[in-house]
């Protein structure tokens, strides 16, 4: 492949021929309280790409030594992982997104505009929503257009969730090879909420743009209420993407479904791979082939 230095801080190269897997660089962005970065980075590493956990400070702070400094443009994909960033003592994801907004807003906008994949899992989904990067009907919005509210049960719910893949064409879902996948959920604030009175309009708009990617179903694949929909999300929405399909946020955790032995029923029915593997393979093969 051609390796062209774009600038001092940019060691990513640009798209040329197919990329080798080991040249693909993925950042999993952490701050205090994010807690799924290890397994999220591992999901990529198992597919032989370079993935690292990067503290947000490494993008901007003066106290960081040169060898630890990073730029968003060093990477081909960025993931905001699950956890309780900064404690989530106010609205989930609010503090993390405020920090990202203050230091990375321009970079992230450019990154998304160039078509690089951006993924938010659980708390990361909340962060992307707070940033206005989802649903982003007309590009990244100034203010959040939706919210992930407190679960209907009013408590944290850790349980297996089954998801119908409503849009199998985006880079994240192309390699799943199934209509229904199992990614477990574990959150207290995952209920998709649209502005009051405009719910129908939002759902229609999402549908038109093919932005609804995952919806909660029961283990037979039928749309169902609690506990299959663990939070009371409107229209059973579990995950959505931007209109372009390169930014995805979802509450359930694909990184917890990578190995066949992660499936809650693996001692009953053995699969060759966990459903999460196909999910991460989608991102990697997109990056390999994008010319």
């Amino acid at each position: 492949m051609r390796w062209i230095q774009l600038g001092e801080m940019d060691c990513r190269g640009i798209w040329g021929d197919d990329m080798e897997r080991e040249d693909i660089r993925v950042a999993v962005v952490r701050i205090e309280g994010t807690n799924c970065e290890r397994e999220t980075a591992l999901a990529f590493k198992r597919l032989e790409v370079f993935a690292e956990e990067v503290h947000l400070k490494q993008f901007y702070s003066d106290m960081i030594r040169d060898e630890d400094k990073r730029s968003l443009h060093d990477y081909h994909a960025v993931v905001f992982p699950g956890g309780f960033s900064a404690g989530d003592y106010i609205r989930a994801g609010a503090i993390f997104s405020a920090r990202v907004r203050s230091v990375l807003r321009k970079d992230l906008k450019k990154f998304i505009g160039e078509g690089w994949p951006v993924l938010g899992i659980c708390n990361g989904f909340q962060v992307l929503v707070e940033l206005g990067a989802l649903p982003a009907f007309d590009g990244i919005s100034e203010k959040p257009e939706m919210a992930l509210g407190i679960n209907d049960s009013s408590r944290f719910e850790c349980r297996p969730t089954f998801l119908k893949v409503e849009n199998q064409k985006i880079l994240f879902t192309r390699n799943l090879g199934k209509n229904v996948v199992m990614f477990p959920s574990a959150h207290a604030e995952g209920k998709v909420i649209f502005p009051s009175g405009r719910e129908e309009e939002y759902i229609e708009r999402l549908k038109e743009n093919n932005q609804i990617v995952f919806r909660y179903v029961d283990r037979n694949g039928d749309y169902a209420g609690y506990p299959w929909n663990p939070n009371g999300s409107i229209y059973n929405i579990a995950g959505i993407c931007n209109p372009e399909g390169n930014v995805l946020g979802l509450m359930p955790h694909p990184e917890r479904a990578f190995h066949p032995v992660s499936h809650p029923e693996w001692t009953r029915n053995q699969q060759k791979d966990g459903d999460g593997k196909g999910f991460f393979e989608g991102i990697v093969s997109y990056l390999e082939k994008k010319v």
């Binding site: 807690n35 591992l42 404690g87 850790c158 574990a186 029961d218 283990r219 992660s262 809650p264």
Partner: protein, 783 residues
């Protein structure tokens, strides 16, 4: 503090410091001083201190006396328990032991390159006063115990014990909080701390007994994993090493936590001891763990220890002495939460989220950079010196100087104890067989000690870190039932796993502490074996009443004796533990509660066995003998009779059974396996049916079907095998010297249990009804 100017002499300094005139104090005055200063030391202990200072020719300062109160508390020096622990439990040799007993956590070999780390503790008194904060900081403390060995925590465990949820409010003694309030607060505290810090809570138990009404028990365990070459000890490396205090700031929260934990609770505890409850912050803890492990893995540390009970006062002395040295500390450097805090308060504060590192001077800058990167405070507060003396300075004034060996030479007692035989005249043979088995079975399934604990389990993130291979709930999604042990795959590049369980049945120990404890050990092994793991090590958390009362100490003696007897004969080492005494109030004391956390070695996590029924038309085999043992059984509680005959265990038979079960798993395809415990065979079958959402048909040929179905005899399992295998399996088991028989077969949507005497089945219930009865047993109290 009530200040008597003739005893407490204020030093003329820019800050508050008192000299305490003990040299001229009578025994009576010594007792008053101990009480007024909240030292919880006896007159004998105070006299020893007086003698020490007489030789020094001066009176102690307040900070010196406070330090001794911490160091010599039951909580810190195990003065009432050590004698018994040494006699019965310590020193079980096993090839897998790396560091056992002497550190904050036990360290055991995992594979050639790795060790796993085990710790188990109580956080009882704080949780009884402030359930949410008490439980949360309990998790914080146990995580630090594991991290300070250089290990990454991978699993949390939380055994909980409360009074009955339907206790009427008017029956609560003054100052006692309702069990439902306590349980909800404790579960929420574990949830909000454990989930935030990102370590999965994978196992535990919730047990109800009226003995816990005044004094709930909150135990918490943690398992971690470390590279062997990253293991680090709680000791300084050498003279010149620098003490770096890292993590949270120090405040007035958690003053006298250990002395509070070393006395009985009463109605004034809330008011007097609220300040002894620490405040946790998981979002300081989460980066603190990363930073400590990063600094350790880079080889920058010579020692690491967590600040728990006793705060700085305990950690500095213990780390210095363990290395064979002394220390000098400059207290004004400690980062504070509030101004106006007195030097002695800084010294003994148990503020959370703090760790102490010892670092060679040349590595300090690198260590400070790592902590700065993680936005975690790190401050140099002192250094290691050659003499075995501890000196503390504040704003340049020396305020403390004692020999470390004196400070850490807490007393050790062999207090008088009485072993009580609780004779109960009645037994199961005094009650007739039930007329309606279904009715009894429903009551047992809905019994709070049997019913589903899903409401708590699902509030804990048991999958974060994505390495939970066997989850706490097993079976078809939506119909899961309680598993026997959780299994974690701690390393990315290995299929080896760790099985984790926590066990004790206080209904047995209450009647018979010896056999109850032996059976807790049996159950721990049974659970580990059921998932196809080899019992490998365990930790104990011994929760008892006031050891100064001979009957309570007698219970403790019997319990420790049984534990040592079982563990030694099975060659399973006790690698770490904690004793919690004084779990009593003027109204009641807790049942003897020796909580055990067992760890099993899983050779290949892909070979783990779960407990849910897998297929229709398979055979169910019961392994080992059912005896009429109903002491402490759920059946006796439901039917309202008493029986002193608690289940018993034999180490020889348990060992043979473990070996046979493990070889059964490697020789035959075992579809599911479940241990038989509370509620006996009937409940074990019910849970297997629930998890598989599948019925079964079973025939009981015994004369008394209630004995066969509901006895809680130990060392039993039920396995599910393919129909064509069952005769071979039974023969294999019998040849190995175990009793085994076919109970029946799986299939259908009903649970059908037939007796020998009538054609009508004893129990004929749709599995959905079994499921609902079991699932709603607890939630009906939750509102």
């Amino acid at each position: 503090m009530e200040l008597d100017p003739s005893v407490y002499i204020s030093r003329n300094l820019p800050f508050e410091l008192y000299e305490v005139d003990i040299l001229n104090a009578s025994d009576e005055q010594l007792a008053v001083i101990s009480d007024e200063m909240g030292l919880a030391l006896s007159v004998d202990e105070m006299r020893r201190i007086k003698e020490y200072f007489r030789q020094k020719g001066r009176n102690p300062t307040d900070i010196e006396l406070q330090a001794l109160g911490q160091a010599w508390s039951e909580h810190c020096c195990y003065k009432s328990s050590k004698y018994f622990l040494k006699k019965y439990l310590f020193g079980i040799e096993a090839p897998q032991n790396i560091f056992v007993i002497e550190e904050d956590a036990g360290v055991v070999e995992f594979d050639e390159e790795h060790a796993y780390v085990v710790a188990l503790e109580s956080h009882n008194h704080p949780s009884a006063i402030e359930p949410y904060g008490g439980a949360a900081t309990g998790i914080g403390g146990i995580l630090r115990d594991v991290v300070c060995m250089g290990a990454q925590p991978v699993a949390l465990v939380d055994p909980l014990f409360f009074g009955h949820l339907d206790t009427p409010y008017e029956a609560l003694p003054s100052g006692v909080k309702h069990p439902l309030y306590l349980m909800n607060g404790v579960v929420a505290g574990i949830r909000d701390y454990g989930n935030r810090v990102g370590i999965p809570t994978v196992a535990g138990m919730i047990f109800f007994d009226e003995g816990y009404t005044g004094n709930c028990l909150v135990n918490v365990g943690c398992v971690g994993i470390a590279k062997k070459n990253h293991l680090i000890r709680s000791r300084v490396g050498g003279v010149g090493d620098v003490f770096v205090l890292v993590g949270g700031k120090t405040g007035r929260d958690g003053i006298h936590g250990v002395t509070f934990a070393s006395t009985e609770l009463d109605e004034k505890s809330e008011e007097e001891s609220r300040g002894a409850v620490q405040l946790g912050n998981p979002i300081v803890k989460e980066p603190l763990i990363h930073a400590c492990l990063e600094a350790n893995e880079k080889g920058l540390l010579t020692g690491m220890k967590d600040l728990g009970g006793g705060g700085l006062s305990c950690v500095i002395g213990e780390m210095a002495l363990a290395g064979g040295f002394g220390a000098e500390v400059h207290l004004e450097r400690v980062p504070l939460k509030e101004k106006e805090i007195k030097p002695w308060e800084i010294w003994v504060s148990e503020s959370q989220e703090r760790m102490m590192l010892s670092v060679r001077p040349e590595n300090v800058d690198e260590v400070l950079y790592i902590f700065d990167k993680w936005d975690v405070d790190a401050t140099v507060i002192g250094k290691v010196i050659d003499e075995k003396i501890l000196r503390v300075f504040y704003q340049g004034y020396k305020i403390y100087e004692m020999d470390i060996e004196f400070v850490t030479s807490g007393p050790e007692y062999c207090r008088p104890y009485t072993v009580e035989k609780r004779e109960i005249q009645t037994s199961v043979f005094d009650v007739p067989e039930p007329e309606d088995y279904e009715d009894i079975f429903r009551s047992i399934l809905a019994h709070p000690n049997v019913a589903s604990k899903e409401f708590a389990i699902r509030q804990y993130d048991h999958e974060v870190r994505a390495s939970t291979v066997l989850k706490p709930l097993n079976g078809i999604a939506g119909w899961e039932s309680h598993g026997d042990a959780a299994v974690i795959k701690p390393l990315e590049d290995s299929w080896k796993g760790l099985a984790i369980t926590s066990d004790v049945n206080p209904a047995y120990t209450k009647i018979d502490p010896f056999w109850g404890t032996a059976v807790a050990f049996d159950e721990m092994c049974r659970n580990l074996v059921a998932v196809n793991s080899v019992p490998h090590s365990f930790a104990d958390c011994l929760n008892f009443g006031n050891p100064e009362k001979p009957l309570r100490l007698g219970d403790f003696h019997e319990s420790v004796r049984a534990l040592g007897w079982m563990a030694r004969n099975l060659g399973i080492p006790c690698v770490s533990g904690n004793v919690s005494f004084y779990n009593e109030t003027p109204y009641s004391f807790v049942p003897p509660t020796p909580t055990l956390m067992g760890v099993g070695m899983v050779e290949d996590v892909r070979k783990v066995i779960s407990m849910d029924l897998k297929r229709r038309g398979t055979a169910l085999i019961l392994i080992n003998e059912t005896r009429p043992e109903f002491g402490g059984s759920v059946y006796s509680s439901v039917r309202g009779f008493e029986d002193s005959n608690v289940p018993k265990s034999s180490p020889e038979h348990l060992r043979k059974s473990i070996e046979t079960m493990l070889s059964l798993f490697s020789n035959f395809r075992i579809l599911s396996c479940h241990d038989v415990a509370e509620g006996g065979v009937a409940v074990a079958l019910g849970e297997m049916c629930i998890g598989g959402h599948m019925g079964c048909e079973v025939e009981i040929r015994a004369e008394r079907a209630d004995i066969a179905l509901f006895s809680e005899s130990a060392t039993r399992w039920i396995v599910e095998v393919k129909e064509e295998d069952y005769t071979d399996v039974v023969e294999f088991l019998r040849k190995s010297g175990l009793k085994a028989g076919v109970l029946g077969f799986t299939g259908g949507k009903d649970m059908i249990l037939r007796g020998a005497k009538t054609t009508k089945p004893l129990i004929y219930m749709n599995i959905d009804e079994v499921d609902t009865t079991w699932r709603n047993g607890l939630s009906r109290y939750m509102g």
